[in-house]
């Protein structure tokens, strides 16, 4: 293996390189590109909800059909492309080999192929907007019959080519390709963890983030098969005239809901686990303390992983599950929050009586914990109780709930990681002022957007409606005001992400060069090499002597002890 710097041109670096770091950055940029549009979509449909008569620049006044397309694709992109693209693919590719002290993934070519599939999936998704339907509008959960037929569109399907070159087909193909990409990536992560650790690194000395990404990938592999089967059957229903989901022919639309949520619920943990992993790294570094209960966390997470395959029907309490089954699923759902409560408690115990450094990544990390626990997880518990869910299902309450889970995990924990590792992968520092501005605007206006949605949901505002003006009880009292607050906050929230994009690009080219390879004085291996690491990651391959979080260890003169440093 070569440790010399390869001289790489732009095209090589962004299209053909086999280096896991380049592939990680390719994932990052591709994901941010597509998520940019998803953010714009949210802004547009949100404006439409609160100010139906407002003429939105570039979009005009959107009609119900366009509203559906915007909401659907916002959800699809955020959940399937952004969340997994950042937390699994980007973090996994960039950090796993560096944290394990090795030169690259176990199968670099498979890794490259994985990115190509991901890129292809994004391209196919984009093409779906330019087909006659102008985008798929049947909801991000793709329930039949909406996902099978041409409901609400002016160009009814007649021929095979109408059906094949439809947004429905293309969206499903895009999803299938993305899954293939993530499967290849996941296999790589797992084999790399088990077979390519630095000399001396035992399995229980691996940084928690690596474990979390690998466990998430394994969970993904266990849960995605049935959904791929379901997607395949859906494609056949659209294109080959089968009737798997067609009740008039003996099929069952509920079948899709089972196959979808069998994957869909584990999917939220596939996103959550890497987020928790990032938090573990950022918190220990900034609390200058060893992680409380490393093994305990691993065991809890494994329990939650197994349980997560048995709770899917809590999404279907209203769609219709047997009441006895609903009880079981409800109880399991409530049980599954216990392991996560344990993980959060471990984090709090890590913070307890620590010499906290309130750096920018730490601000993101601590708000992630607070928001996720108090408003995300806690409301999820309520929704797990079938009785309450009957009332809250398909209202804004649910929308608020999953935004308080996904945004703390994907945006807050993701940003914590981004601000934490930025100087590692770019060799430069982010602008702190812009960083703080980005943090505070995001924090304030995320809550300004989310809290009103809880209240609106409790007041009975249904979700997935392209406007509420025609519903008298939703146009009374303070409810329109709440919608306006939510919308204005959402718009500012989306716009403040431009500060981040600007800061990112500006700092990559113009930021102050880092003076130290380990500015946070962290212990894990990625900090023990240059910034950015060379091709092959290390000039001299490290030998590991300690666990990952040796801070303030008695008998050591500095307050941190890198994994590869003998006492």
């Amino acid at each position: 293996m070569s440790t010399t710097h390869e001289n790489k041109g732009f095209w090589h670096r962004f299209f053909f390189s086999l280096d896991h770091k380049d592939i990680g950055l390719q994932y990052l940029i591709t994901t941010m590109f597509i998520a940019f549009f998803a953010g714009i979509f949210a802004m547009v449909f949100r404006i439409h909800l609160a100010f139906p008569d407002y003429h939105i620049p570039l979009f005009g006044i959107i009609d119900a059909k366009e509203y559906n397309i915007l909401v659907t694709n916002h959800g699809l992109i955020m959940v399937l492309w952004l969340s997994m693209g950042i937390l699994l693919a980007t973090a996994g590719n960039y950090l796993i080999p560096t944290m394990l002290g090795t030169d690259d993934m176990a199968f670099p070519k498979l890794n490259k192929l994985s990115y190509w599939f991901f890129l292809l999936s994004v391209i196919i998704l984009i093409i779906s907007f330019f087909l006659p339907q102008k985008g798929f509008g049947g909801g991000w959960t793709l329930y039949p019959p909406l996902s099978v037929g041409d409901f609400g569109y002016n160009t009814p399907y007649k021929t095979f080519s109408d059906r094949f070159f439809s947004s429905n087909t293309f969206v499903l193909l895009a999803i299938a390709l993305e899954f293939v990409a993530l499967l290849m990536g996941g296999i790589n992560f797992m084999v790399t963890l088990f077979n390519k650790r630095a000399k001396g690194m035992g399995l229980l000395q691996v940084p928690l983030l690596v474990w979390m990404i690998v466990i998430a990938s394994i969970l993904f592999m266990f849960s995605v098969g049935p959904l791929v089967a379901g997607t395949f059957m859906l494609l056949l229903d659209i294109n080959a005239g089968t009737g798997f989901y067609d009740a008039s022919r003996g099929g069952d639309p509920l079948l899709w809901e089972h196959l979808f949520w069998f994957f869909g619920h584990p999917e939220v943990y596939v996103i959550l686990l890497p987020g928790l992993g990032i938090l573990a790294e950022v918190i220990t570094t900034n609390a200058r303390k060893t992680l409380f209960g490393y093994k305990f966390i691993l065991v809890l997470v494994l329990i939650a992983t197994v349980l997560s395959l048995m709770v899917w029907a809590h999404h279907q309490f209203v769609a219709g599950v047997d009441p006895r089954a609903a009880t079981v699923f409800g109880i399991l759902t409530i049980i599954i929050s216990l392991p996560f409560a344990g993980v959060i408690l471990s984090f709090l115990a890590t913070l307890w009586k620590s010499n906290l450094r309130l750096t920018l990544p730490m601000k993101w990390a601590m708000s992630a914990i607070v928001l996720f626990t108090i408003l995300g997880g806690f409301t999820g518990l309520h929704l797990g109780a079938a009785l309450f869910d009957m009332y809250a299902h398909d209202t804004s309450f649910v929308v608020a709930h999953f935004h308080y889970t996904l945004i703390p995990v994907v945006i807050f924990a993701g940003m914590a990681g981004f601000y934490h590792w930025f100087n590692k992968f770019s060799g430069r520092e982010l602008n702190q002022f812009l960083g703080n501005l980005h943090f505070w605007l995001t924090f304030i206006f995320f809550n300004g957007f989310g809290i009103p949605l809880f209240l609106l949901g409790l007041a009975g505002q249904p979700r997935r409606y392209a406007g509420y003006d025609h519903i008298p009880y939703l146009s009374e009292g303070y409810l329109p005001l709440l919608r306006e607050i939510a919308t204005i906050s959402a718009v500012i929230l989306v716009l403040s992400q431009f500060i981040f994009i600007f800061n990112f690009i500006w700092s990559v080219y113009k930021g102050k060069k880092v003076t130290s390879n380990n500015p946070w004085q962290s212990t894990t291996l990625e900090w023990q090499t240059s910034s950015p690491p060379p091709h092959g990651n290390f000039e001299v391959y490290p030998v590991v002597y300690h666990g990952p979080y040796e801070y303030n260890r008695p008998g050591v003169d500095k307050d941190f002890l890198p994994q590869n440093q003998k006492i």
Binding site: M221, G225, P226, M233, F244, G250
Partner: protein, 180 residues
């Protein structure tokens, strides 16, 4: 566990879950139906498929023999060749039968029987095809002088695992579609 083998185990888990999804959907649809397979549609060719299943099982056994002997240092590819020839026979016979039924026989209406039959059997067929292509790749890999013997044994193990999966899946599908 060596890398290629671990990767293949994960692939097989995903595949098992994939077919698990299809099969459970099939069973649920069947339970909901009074008459299965639906009346007035041609019966499936039982004996031809049965003999074809035997062919595939033998192919699996030959693959196992190849794997055993390769691991103990006997580099002859004889058994691998026999296994793949039987695999090709299975694929052709089953493929023609699938097409024949598609063109002249069972319809996808009014019940789901036809839809499921084509999907399950067709999906398995695609996996046999994939298995054959992987074996084709194995020949090339084993001739590659830059790979070590150890690497070759690992890849042989991985390919054999995939082939066992394809072979053992068939009796399950045969039982579910042709017999029940």
């Amino acid at each position: 566990m060596p890398g290629p083998v671990m990767a293949m185990v994960m692939v097989i888990i995903v595949e098992t879950m994939f077919f698990g999804g299809l099969i459970s959907a099939y069973i649920l649809a069947k339970i909901a139906e009074v008459e299965w397979p639906p009346a007035g549609q041609p019966r499936l060719p039982f004996w031809l498929t049965f003999s074809n299943m035997i062919v595939l099982l033998i192919s699996g056994i030959l693959m196992y023999r190849f794997f055993k002997s390769y691991k103990t240092g006997n580099k002859s590819l004889k058994y691998l060749t026999f296994a793949s020839i039987l695999g090709i026979v299975f694929f052709l016979v089953q493929g023609f039968e699938w097409l024949r039924i598609l063109l002249f026989g069972i319809k996808t209406e009014p019940s789901l029987f036809g839809s499921f039959f084509y999907t399950l059997i067709g999906m398995h067929g695609l996996h046999v095809l994939a298995g054959l292509l992987v074996i084709r790749y194995l020949y090339k890999y084993l001739k590659n002088p830059s790979k070590t013997e150890e690497q070759k044994v690992h890849v042989v193990t991985a390919v054999a695992l995939f082939w066992y999966f394809v072979v053992l899946l068939w009796p399950v599908l045969y039982y579910l579609t042709y017999l029940v």
